[in-house]
Point group: C2
Chain length 87, copies 2
């Protein structure tokens, strides 16, 4: 399956979240990651994030799709990570 | 169609972007909006954003779907905007 993860994390934990997500997904924009994952990888990601974040202060949204055919992506302005070239 | 818009905008323009997107979509998280739009509304949103942002500094990603059935949304931590209650 394919996931888009967006987060709003307090500054003291944001690098830890970024470092963790980089192991599993592609960095797309300041606080956005994307990528293809298996079901068990997704569980690993959720568990890992819950270990890092403070549930009262931080917020992570995981959008899940069957495949990346489910959407189109259009960038206005700076294309920070050239994912179209990677995938 | 349904859109998710995520942005990374310099602080001096971020409130203008937020105010503009609020007119068309639901605020979901710090820099994430979502909502159902028509094709012409989406064009209006793109044009409006391009008027506000600095294309060399700012970045906006528009994910477009046929409907919101295309994905599931899971929130870890703070659920900032109770969109499930709204829609």
């Amino acid at each position: 399956m394919y996931v888009i993860i967006v987060y709003d994390i307090k500054v003291e934990r944001v690098n830890k979240v970024k470092g963790f997500l980089r192991k599993h997904l592609y960095w797309i924009q300041n606080s956005v990651f994307e990528g293809e994952v298996t079901k068990s990888e997704l569980e690993e990601i959720k568990t890992g994030l819950l270990d890092i974040i403070n549930k009262k202060d931080d917020s992570v949204i995981i959008y899940r799709f069957r495949t990346d055919d489910a959407f189109t992506r259009k960038v206005l302005g700076v294309e920070k990570a050239p994912i179209n070239g990677i995938l």
